[in-house]
């Protein structure tokens, strides 16, 4: 009686050990297979190696200095051949006017290119400010994550770009961007957005919007350079990104951003 019970026990242990060994070998095999695939990139593409020698671009905008001239929005359209219709913008300026009754009036006539005419009389205004907007070049950009074909990506320099040859124009990224910084190019039928003037950066020229800003309200720079002007600016000012709650890793920092700004 007890004998048979013990043999039954041995058998049980034996079969479960075999099962354990089997699954251990499968797991190990799968892991090795995975790493092999990964290194040879047959099926899985390597995660981005962050190259420390390249800059990691960030942007700062000083709202206190912005005079709402729209030069940045105009220059952006000229430099990047953005369609002139008043609803395609890579870069635009909004005017926020908080009225004494608590309501907020937001205008952006042709993105600010045509100039701002104050439309709320002085006595009704609690406060008013300009808010220049452009791509935040997020480190964890939602637009990049939703792209089904890998046509939009974060370059090793931290610039979010669109591969126009690869984009299928599905508009997912336009929907996904919480800052409204993308549109579908009416002629090319592919996604279009701020590239931080990547073609200019490569020639050591400032992005067009920064070149023409008359008051130095906009700046770009290398966030890795701890002695650089951008990091210095961030150190000396109280800056904030738009919609920090969305955790997009936005790299466009505003000085003096008011809580009404969306």
């Amino acid at each position: 009686m007890s004998q048979s019970a013990s043999t039954m026990g041995n058998e049980k242990i034996g079969s479960s050990r075999r099962k354990f060994l089997k699954s251990a070998v499968t797991l190990a095999g799968a892991t090795i297979g995975y790493t092999w695939l990964k290194s040879s990139q047959i099926l899985i593409f390597a995660a981005e190696p962050k190259d420390e020698t390249l800059p990691w671009y960030g942007i700062a905008i000083d709202i206190e200095k912005c005079i709402g001239c729209g030069s940045c929005a105009k220059a952006c359209k000229n430099e990047n051949d953005v369609p002139k219709e008043p609803f395609f913008f890579r870069n635009w300026v909004e005017q926020y006017t908080v009225k004494n009754d608590g309501t907020v009036d937001i205008v952006s006539p042709n993105g600010g290119i045509d100039g701002f005419v104050q439309r709320v009389p002085d006595e009704d205004i609690f406060k008013s400010f300009f808010l220049p907007k452009m791509c935040n070049h997020c480190a964890k950009s939602p637009c990049e994550q939703v792209c089904p074909v890998g046509a939009t990506f974060l370059s090793p320099e931290g610039v979010v770009l669109v591969d126009e040859k690869y984009c299928i124009g599905c508009r997912y990224c336009v929907q996904a961007c919480p800052y409204g910084c993308r549109f579908i190019h009416p002629v090319k039928k592919v996604a279009n957005k701020c590239t931080l003037c990547y073609h200019r950066l490569k020639k050591n020229l400032a992005p067009a919007c920064m070149e023409v800003c008359p008051t130095g309200a906009r700046m770009y720079g290398n966030l890795r350079d701890k002695q650089g002007p951008l990091v210095k600016f961030l150190k000396e000012h109280t800056t904030q990104v738009l919609r920090p709650n969305l955790n997009t890793g936005a790299k466009l920092y505003y000085n003096a951003l008011s809580s009404e700004a969306r």
């Binding site: 709402g68 006017t97 300009f130 890998g150 200019r200 070149e211």
Partner: protein
Amino acid sequence: MKRYIPPQIPRLALAFAIVISLFLVLRHLLIPDTFGKYGPYRAASMDDYSTIEIHYAGQQACFECHQDIEDLKALDVHSGIHCETCHGPGQKHSTSAEAADILKPTGREFCGNCHMMNAARQKDAVLQVDLTKHNIGKNCTECHNPHQPWEMKK
């Protein structure tokens, strides 16, 4: 005990092997060379961007031929404003030196873009005038030199 393997298993395995290798070959042919070099995207598209032509030359380019104007500008309040902010893209003009390739802005609205009264404009960032009151009927440049605003023309 020899395990019985049904004949359809090896046949199926062969079919699978063919389909999978076909898939891998097709995939290899369809995916562009540089895809996956840095991440799940075509690395060569960054080179495509580098070949786009610039339209704004940067103000250093203007000094080569217009140092006189820069010397004027440097003395006065508009010193921080680059040439192309007012004159528009100048890459074409920088190589052709033709007057037709560059903008010569005129009109009260042009100066007004920056100087018109607006509650959002910070007074210490830029002085503002009421366009409907400040010397109406005259072009700003009849009195102010755009490159040296306080050097009034007679």
